[in-house]
């Protein structure tokens, strides 16, 4: 399994993401530079956290038009697995690969802390290693993570099982609608989440629960 991790100017979590991918047995990972449209044959793409292009205009708005993203969009339309974390989630929403948008936190503060997540949809390409309702512990660190989707869109997302992860009761760090932490597209091959599984992929960091998102991707691909 070969993972590719996008690196934009302003990315800051790509190295941890590479590390997390490499902890999956049998997997390797390489960085994908934002100006290079060649995905170098990787079998899954991670769009990592950070402040791509300075987050100018709106979070994720400029990164969406980078050469690498044009290729990631094509890759996803062909069924390729794409994981967007934090800023990567914002980029995928701006690119129209995922429904909804991420708004400034309701309290307007940067929030950095460990949170508990509940797997709402187990058995997806990203949560195959989780059981429904199971809790995992991973950190969040963001200023614009308040998930929003218009009511009619949200209804259709529920019908299609697109809400994949929620903050456990009392753990919503940003005012997200219905405690939503992670959503997937209709086809099920693109997932975005605000919390950082790549920062919880090694027991040294206090939790390695996040690694299971990456192992799920590898198993879904196999």
């Amino acid at each position: 399994m070969r993972f590719g991790v996008v690196r934009f100017p302003g990315s800051c979590d790509e190295v941890d993401a590479v590390h997390a991918c490499e902890r999956v047995p049998g997997a390797s990972a390489q960085l994908l530079w934002h100006r290079d449209p060649d995905l170098h044959g990787v079998e899954a793409v991670v769009v990592p956290g950070g402040f791509s292009y300075g987050d100018y205009l709106r979070v994720g708005a400029i990164a969406r038009f980078s050469p690498v993203m044009e290729s990631v969009i094509r890759f996803s339309r062909g069924g390729g697995l794409v994981l967007g974390i934090c800023n990567g989630f914002q980029v995928l929403c701006e690119a129209g690969l995922l429904p909804g948008a991420l708004l400034p936190n309701d309290h307007l503060r940067f929030r950095c802390r460990q949170v508990e997540l509940e797997g709402v949809e187990a058995g997806t390409s990203f949560t195959g290693e989780l059981t429904a309702g199971e809790r995992i512990s991973v950190p969040v660190k963001h200023t614009s993570g308040r998930y929003y989707a218009p009511p009619e869109q949200l209804e259709s997302m529920h019908a299609q099982g697109q809400v994949v992860l929620r903050y456990a009761p009392g753990h919503n760090p940003n005012g997200s609608l219905e405690d939503i932490a992670g959503v997937r597209n209709e086809a099920g091959n693109v997932l975005g989440l605000m919390p950082h599984p790549e920062h919880a992929a090694d027991p040294l960091s206090g939790s390695d629960d996040g690694l299971r998102i990456f192992t799920s991707i590898a198993h879904a691909h196999a």
Partner: protein
């Protein structure tokens, strides 16, 4: 042509920046202020102003969460 685009948070979506400003004003002695909303002003020189709506839809605003208004000064 010089053009201006006003981008506002969509009505009904919580605008925490507006709320923060609204709460700060009375602390400075400015009473009687309500419904504060904070948006963006984008100014640009453009040859073909008919392309502005498309530009707004694709980049300058996110129509899911924002409304935009194109202002073209005479």
């Amino acid at each position: 042509m010089r053009a201006r685009v006003l981008v506002r948070p969509k009505e009904g979506i919580l605008d925490p920046q507006g709320v923060a400003v609204e709460r700060a004003l009375p602390a400075l002695g400015f009473e009687g202020v309500a419904n504060v909303h904070v948006g963006r002003l984008i100014e640009l020189d453009i040859d073909d102003a008919s392309r502005l709506p498309e530009m707004c839809e694709k980049l300058l605003a996110n129509p899911l969460i924002e409304d935009y208004e194109i202002v073209e000064p005479a």
